[in-house]
Amino acid sequence: MNLALSEKVVLITGSNGGIGQDICLSFLEEKSQVVALYRGSSDKLKDLESEIDQAGLSREFYHPMSVDLSSGESINKCIEEIIQKFGRIDVLVNNAGTTMEKPFLSLKEDELELVYEANMLSLTKLTQRVLKEMLILKSGNIVNVSSVVSKRYGRGVSYYASMKAGVNRLTQVLATEMGKKNIRINAVCPGVIETKLSGALQGRHHKLLVSETPLKRFGKPTDVANAIKFLASDNVSSFITGVTLDVDGGIGL
């Protein structure tokens, strides 16, 4: 299947995360121009960079860029630089996020703000800025990384689940607004994926989660990355917009 993602300018947030790394690798395999967004020290990208080298992928298409997604000014500067360099943005993958597993009544104000900021507000600010560029080009694809807990489960991660449900709804509404401008907005809802983020959860509830999953295994980051590439490709999903695609082995059913 030809995804035709070669040379497409793809922005990926949270590129140093468990799923983020595989999303970057996956688009690099397609020879997309991958702008890997991260916050803070570039040391965070060492794992990703060694994986790029190990996979024999060229760094020619890899463009790491630091950005503080909580700051509109930082986002603006970052997008200006990208436009200066490439002249366009074809795909935005809103992958950055953070979870907070805690009983609802124990969540402190700063923790609520962190979860809101990391999962909803930053995504919204970046999407607004990128959409300006996509509107002018009348072309673009946005894929939001949501979660199975946006639809089912979520006990212990109530606020995170609420934010992800918000991401789903934002995806759907934006899809209705931007369709006429040839911009598609979709989301993926990963189930239990083998990453550091889900490590603790797997450890404690491994047997239960596997037994609850119809496909009887946890997902791999590449499962999510492949679904994202599918949704980002106009060659194979051009009539799909506003979906919140479950990539969860059936656990959300």
């Binding site: 300006k132 509107l135 002018i136 009348k138 607004e177 931007m178 006429k180 401008k181």
Partner: protein, 131 residues
């Protein structure tokens, strides 16, 4: 930069961003009520113009922009344009239907007053301020 040049460019952008045909566009046409430009097309129109001219039109923050222009005299209170704000609007937008600039006018209704000429003048004003 004169009105004719700006009008020509604005017309091109309107045609590109919306379903409006070139021969429907004239300086006196209101963007929303006459040309039927919807909010999404309006966003594309504004961003395209901002890109072309390298200016910020600040239509999304019209009240903030007017407050800055009025040197601290409030343009609006509780979303209703003040008497001083109405006077400023009349000065800046003599081309619009003046009977609409009346006490009680809400800030969110200002975009409905905008004609093609208003937009052209705003571009010229912002470009002049930038230079």
């Amino acid at each position: 930069m004169n009105m004719e040049e700006v009008f020509e460019k604005v017309s091109e952008v309107i045609v590109d961003a919306s379903d409006v045909e070139a021969d429907e566009i004239s300086l006196d046409k209101r963007l929303i009520d006459d040309l039927d430009i919807d909010s999404i097309d309006m966003m594309e129109l504004i961003y395209s113009i901002e890109k072309i001219y390298g200016v910020e039109l600040e239509i999304g923050d019209f009240e903030g922009a007017m407050n800055r222009e009025m040197n601290g005299v409030p343009f609006a209170k509780d979303n209703i344009i003040t008497d001083e704000g109405l006077q400023k609007l009349r000065e800046l937008m003599p081309e619009v239907d003046q009977t609409k600039i009346q006490p009680g006018l809400a800030v969110y209704n200002v975009p409905f007053l905008f004609t093609v000429e208003s937009l052209c003048k705003l571009i010229m004003r912002k470009s002049a301020a930038k230079n």
